[in-house]
């Protein structure tokens, strides 16, 4: 047998040394990774283990001008089961199906499904969820969440808009103020296994969500509701296609209400409101989508139309501003006007005959305005249109605003100029017209119509007032004063007299626009009105789309505004102020009720001659009065009824 020689031992030592050297190199390598590269790989490993679970930030609340919640959040819960953690499936199935009102098979299917997490029901209200949480069942998870909730349902639906599932505005103010309302989502950082299961007791990093800011609007819920009712009433009476209405403060552009009737339910925005002749079940997705988009659009700002006679306010203001017409100028209307080779008719076939400019406005006489328009000329007309903001979007704080469609100035010949002069052959949005009219009656301020008034931070209470552009000098003060008087005359004694409200000074202008293409018998009846005429606090426009039967704006649209104003003006604190003439005409006034007790019928008859009671009712058989209503000393309006009980 060979012996273990010295050189063998030396060789063994060499082998061992080589091994030691390599071991040292490996230790260096390890130290390099574990110390020098620790940050790089360590951070990546950390990212791998951490799961971010977002915590939804509460969306800001939208208030009306009086602090009434229009859009808020409702806590809702999602109930789910984790298969691997369920210990007593039968109890879980029984209790969940009982409390959630689901069938047992349905719950059983979900509970027995082998998956990491299975949703049983979402949008469960908090009470029910709390009940389930109190059962303390293993493997049943209750997750809280917020859902956007609109307490008034369909109120101003197309203005306010709604949000999607990811807390994102889809239409309306919810889109425009998305950044304000959204807030910043928080996160929970948890450690998970490779399968994504959270590790219990692992240190959690929690970043709290920051709730969105609250938004206060200029909308007044009461006014909006009243306007919607008025719109609904006229829509049903006239079997119209739709009714649009805007009420605004002409001094600063705050919009009190914007109605696009029919509205839709903001809490259920994906259900089509009943449309005649459309079977919602047979629609393709695209058709349904188109219909939904149609339902969601806000025609007050997105649709343009030919304004018709309401636009004569702009023409008259331009003419006065340019000094080409005086109120006393005389005109003659034979029922038409020949412009170049065309005979353009007045709405009154027989013609208005000889009339002043004031009469022309009150009669809404087309030949007068064609003449006035020609005097102003296309260039000056467009200069004034521009000053009145008719070439620009108004800049309202809801998305989807359309712009006007005007002739190019170089294309305007005599015929075009004539049609423009009574509000045809071009299109603007109702809101653009309302803004121009506001400038005409507020002393020449071109305001920005808007809804948002202020933004409030719910944490700090800091209130940020929102600022909007106001351009002065769209019109001279004198023209504005004159226009107010002219428009008040239109309502007091002209084509707009159906908007007349005793006790209030109302100005306005009617319009009946024939829709394009002409000759289909489809009209838009509209009226633009404001009050008080001497110091406008509110301006309103109403458009009745495709009314059936009588379609004259003065006949059907003006009374709607009268109705709205009769309620809204007192609500806004604008008191009735009857002129003597009005008191006379409408028998306005009050008196103190005298004493009738103990008086005989003859004596009563004498007294009644002095006081202006309405109907007198005698109740019972007898000669003397035993009881009276109203009581003695009460202040009653003229023409009030009187009830006397005889004995």
């Amino acid at each position: 047998m060979a012996t273990n020689r010295t050189y063998n031992r030396r060789n063994i030592f060499v082998v061992y040394t080589i091994i030691m050297l390599i071991a040292c190199l490996l230790i260096v390598r390890l130290a390099y990774i574990m110390v020098y590269r620790a940050d790089y790989y360590g951070v990546r490993a950390q990212q791998l283990h951490e799961r971010e679970r977002p915590i939804k930030a509460e969306r800001g609340i939208i208030y009306d001008r009086n602090g009434v919640e229009i859009a808020s959040n409702k806590p809702v819960c999602t109930i789910s089961v984790i298969h691997s953690q369920i210990k007593d499936p039968e109890t879980v199935i029984r209790l969940l199906s009982e409390t959630l009102g689901l069938s047992e098979e349905k719950v059983r299917k979900r509970v027995e499904k082998v998956s990491s997490i299975e949703r049983i029901k979402s949008n469960v209200d908090k009470e029910t969820a709390d009940k389930i949480r109190n059962f303390d069942l293993d493997g049943v998870m209750v997750d809280e969440d917020y859902k956007r909730y609109y307490p008034y349902g369909s109120l101003a639906s197309k203005v306010i808009g709604f949000t999607g599932s990811d807390n994102q505005g889809i239409i309306g103010l919810e889109v425009d103020y998305d950044e304000v309302l959204q807030g910043i989502d928080g996160t929970i950082l948890t450690l998970t296994t490779a399968q994504g299961l959270e590790i219990e007791n692992a240190a959690e990093d929690r970043v709290e969500p920051i709730a969105g800011n609250n938004l206060t609007l200029s909308i007044d819920v009461n006014i909006q509701q009243y306007c919607e009712q008025a719109a609904k009433k006229v829509l049903e009476e006239k079997e119209a296609k739709s009714v649009k209405m805007i009420l605004m403060n002409p001094q600063n552009g705050e919009i009190y209400s914007m109605v696009n009737y029919p509205e839709f339910d903001l809490n259920d925005p994906y259900t089509l409101t009943v449309q005649t002749g459309v079977d919602t079940d047979t629609l393709t997705d695209k058709e349904k989508n188109d219909l939904l988009n149609e339902m969601w659009r806000n025609p007050c700002i997105s649709d343009t139309y030919e304004p018709g006679s309401t636009f004569k306010t702009v023409i008259a203001a331009s003419a006065l501003e340019e000094g080409v017409v005086k109120l006393t100028d005389n005109f003659f209307c034979p029922g038409y006007k020949i412009v170049e080779d065309r005979k353009i008719r007045c709405h009154k076939v027989g013609g208005h005959g000889a009339e002043t400019f004031v009469d022309g406005i009150m009669n809404s006489c087309n030949p007068v305005f064609m003449e006035v328009g020609a005097r102003v000329g296309a260039e000056n007309l467009y200069k004034n249109f521009k000053k009145l903001g008719l070439f620009n979007r108004t800049g309202i704080d809801v998305p989807g605003e359309a712009n006007s469609i005007m002739h190019k100035i170089e294309d305007i010949e005599a015929v075009e100029l004539a049609t423009i002069s009574f509000g045809q052959s071009f299109q603007i949005t109702p809101l653009q017209l309302l803004r121009a009219a506001s400038a005409i009656i507020n002393g020449g301020k071109l305001i920005t119509p808007h809804f948002g008034v202020s933004v409030t931070n719910p944490e700090t209470g800091y209130v940020q007032e929102l600022q909007y552009d106001v351009k002065e000098g769209a019109l001279s003060k004198e023209t504005s004063e004159t226009m107010k008087q002219l428009l008040e005359a239109v309502v007091a004694d002209g084509s707009g007299k159906n908007a007349y409200l005793p006790g209030f000074r109302i100005g306005g202008k009617t319009a009946t626009s024939e829709k394009l293409p002409r000759g289909t018998g489809k009209y838009i009846s509209s009226f633009i009105g404001f009050a008080p005429a001497n110091d406008p606090k509110v301006i309103a426009i109403v458009l009745i789309d495709e009314p059936t039967g009588i379609y004259y704006g003065g006949t059907i649209a003006a009374p709607v505004i009268a109705d709205v104003f009769s309620n809204v003006l007192p609500y806004l604190g604008i008191e009735e102020n009857y002129s003597e003439e009005e008191k006379e005409k409408f028998e306005i006034g009050s008196f103190q009720v005298p004493n009738f007790l103990g008086k005989t019928k003859e004596e009563v008859a004498e007294l009644i001659k002095i006081y202006e009671f309405g109907e007198i009712y005698y109740i019972g058989e007898g000669d003397t009065v035993a009881e009276q209503f109203p009581l003695e000393g009460e202040q009653v309006n003229k023409n009030s009824d009187l009830i006397l009980y005889l004995d």
Binding site: A2, A23, L30, A45, L48
Partner: protein
Amino acid sequence: MAQSENRRMTQKRKRHSYYDYSLLFLTLFLVCFGLVMIYSTSSFNAQRMYGDETHFLKQQALAVLLGITAMLIISKIDYRIFLKRVLGLPVRLVTLIYIGAVGLQVAVLIFGREVKGAKRWIDLGFISFQPSDLSKIATILFVAYVVNLAPRRLDKITGFFRVAVYMAPLLGLIAKENLSTAIVIAGIMVSVCFVASRKKLYFIVVGIICVLVGSLYVFGVGYRSERVDVWRNVETHPKGFQILQGLFAIASGGIFGTGLGESMQKLGFIPEAHNDMIFTIICEELGLFGAIAVILLFVLLLWRLFIIAINAPDLFGGLIAVGILAHIAIQVILNIAVVTNSIPSTGIPLPFISYGGTSVSVLLAEIGVALSVSNQIRNER
């Protein structure tokens, strides 16, 4: 006189009863540490897959008990028994073991159970094992035996080739199914031959040629194997996932580690963390200090084997000890080099610690042989 005679006798008996307890206890310590780490790394997956978090621990503990028993028995048998002819056959026991190993490798190719696309397991119903692990011990003994027959021949390269030719059947069979084991076996063979040879120039020349060819293969512009691609682009290559996850684990450990049982990466991020990647979890849980401590344990263990090798009573015993030393060293080095992405990846378990019944019991048996060699050391130097 009588007194000195007496002392001489006791001294002789003392020398006679030399037994490397340091090696024994180092081994036992490593194995126990391995069990702890296997429990730590495998409990999550065991719970997930078998519903019993000690599933892998139990399996391994069984193999460890078997291995320790074998180790203790073998350590008391004179290693020279391998050179004896047995059962009246015309071959020595060591040759029989070698032929048996070759036979098992053939058997595994025919009857082997396929796991993940490679036939490496022989299933006997009550027990299944990897013959390639048995082949390692066979290689150590057989190469030591062949070299021992004529150590002078290894002074020339032809002598080395002679050993290689003897080993060729086993190496070829193993390389077909399990390249990493073949590398370990070839490494053992080279180490033993190196120790036996007096002239080492050809080893150096061949070594340099190997390094040159290797670098050309790795860094050359031409064809590159996927394995090399993964190694070079471990962060972007889709197959670098496991190594990258291992690097994450190592780097997460930092200097003092996250604490025993606190590893994140074992929670499914590193597949089968209790196998070849166990060192990464040791790094993550015990930190750089723990990792260096484990490496030092191996260094100590190898030191004891080194002492046994140089003190062995004859060349055969010395070469056996060298073979065992080489086996353990190569596996430790390759394993750590792979998990730190220092070399292209290859599947080699960490001795005594990685999960694997055959591996741990064979290693324990090998330590038994080394102890047996130590038991025959007569004169202390």
